[in-house]
Amino acid sequence: MGFEVLLKGNNALRLLMGLGVALRISLISAVISIALGTVFGVLMTLKKPAITAFFRIYLETVRIMPQMVLLFIVYFGATKARGINLTAETAALIVFSFWGSAEMADLVRGALQGIPKIQYESSTSLGLSTMQTDRYVIGPQIIRRMIPLSINLITRMIKTTSLVMMIGIVEVLKVGQQIIEANRKVSPNAAFGIFLVIFLLYFAACWPISLLAKYLERKWEN
């Protein structure tokens, strides 16, 4: 089956460290995306034509462009064509944050616009100021809507990190390929075992997160 190659040398450790790279890239990008995306999302609800137009172009770009193309543009475009010295990981962080912030912005905008007007009005008519209304009435509702959605975004980021090996980052999938390559002669079946282990690693990383999202969603549904 090929599991024996896992025990050779430090192969198992290398795979875990590869997963670590994937998780690091996705978590840092997620934090940046959530912060920037929240700001962008609020800006989008302001209904200023220039801002709206800007974000429409931004969102469409992100939607149309495959993430891989974005990675190539940023990494090879910046390093080779313009001579800017970007590490592959920085390029990956830029692309993932660029993508994640757009997704997050759209989620925040949706959540904000999904709050019924009457929630603002009943709060104001109780005498709460605009700031108090945002803090005690609207904010908590937005956060409850956003948390499960942001968590889903994180799991999608983790999955998408498998693309970063295309710009030379050695994450879990790349480590797997390297191990398979190195053992081609001695264990020709290693591929199955290694990919199964990688599958289990992704599963172990994403499943608890997605359970948490489901749990919070159920807890806060209204």
């Binding site: 019924p116 009457i118 009943s122 109780l126 005498g127 005690y136 509702q141």
Partner: protein
């Protein structure tokens, strides 16, 4: 019903327009302390808009609204202070969905009036008990029926000790079997001398609760009077035909 002579609320010559439509023009109205005023009129005549203007949720283009001697102006600095004196319950359920019943009714007194939490809690429990919802105090709005939600919304408004309570078709979205429980709460508030402006399509209830009725149509108060005069001897053709439709 102890109705003294001082008007608590005065509406002087107000006009309300949205872009090209005029909802009402030069409308005048006085409400005395302790009075229950029921407003009726065809759909779209501006009943909700009038209540919303009284609560400064909508700006008015002309005229003045004076509550307890002070003018209500949207956007002015004192407007929140004045809003504390006007409680409003809307047709659609508007409880804060992320808070329990108790948190819903305690929020404003604690955050706006900075009152002592323990004291507010005691008052809240007493009021919830009065409307029969003490056992629901820790439930979330989604766990309540429509009638229960509206009773909580009434308690939430009462917790601010408003001078005037505005009720905009608070039973219109309810299943018929829940209407009565809400109307009974309103009737008991009327008995204890609350000043209320009530918009409703429940004519039986209007008659039972009102000290005075007004009929709005075409941007004007077409007719007003005691429930007796209003229902038994309408003076205008417009009111007669409106009432005939409502009875039907």
């Amino acid at each position: 019903m102890d109705v003294d002579m001082r008007p608590i609320l005065e509406v002087k010559n107000i006009s309300k327009r949205y872009d090209d439509i005029t909802v009402f023009e030069n409308l005048n109205l006085q409400v005395k302390k302790g009075e229950v005023l029921v407003i009726v009129g065809p759909s779209g005549c501006g009943k909700s808009t009038l209540l919303r203007c009284l609560n400064a949720l909508e700006p008015i283009q002309e005229g003045e609204i004076i509550l307890d001697g002070e003018a209500i102006r949207p956007g002015s600095r004192e407007v929140n202070k004045l809003r504390e004196k006007v409680g409003m319950v809307f047709q659609s359920y508007d409880l804060f969905p992320h808070m329990t019943v108790l948190q819903n009714v305690m929020l404003a007194p604690i955050k706006v009036k900075k009152r002592d939490k323990k004291e507010v809690r005691e008052e809240a429990l007493a009021l919830l008990d009065r409307v029969g919802l003490l056992s629901k105090k820790d439930q979330f709005p989604r766990q309540l029926s429509g009638g229960q939600k509206q009773r909580v919304a009434i308690v939430r408004a009462l917790m601010m000790h408003p001078e005037v309570l505005l009720l905009d078709e608070i039973t219109a979205a309810l299943d018929p079997e829940m209407v009565q429980e809400v109307l009974e709460v309103v009737l008991s508030l009327a008995k204890e001398g609350r000043t209320m402006l009530i918009v409703t399509h429940e004519m039986q209830f209007a008659r039972a609760v009102a000290d005075r009725m007004i009929f709005i149509d075409g941007g004007h108060i077409v007719e007003e009077g005691t429930p007796e005069e209003f229902f038994e001897h309408p003076k205008t053709e417009r009111l007669s035909s409106f009432l005939a439709k409502m009875r039907f």
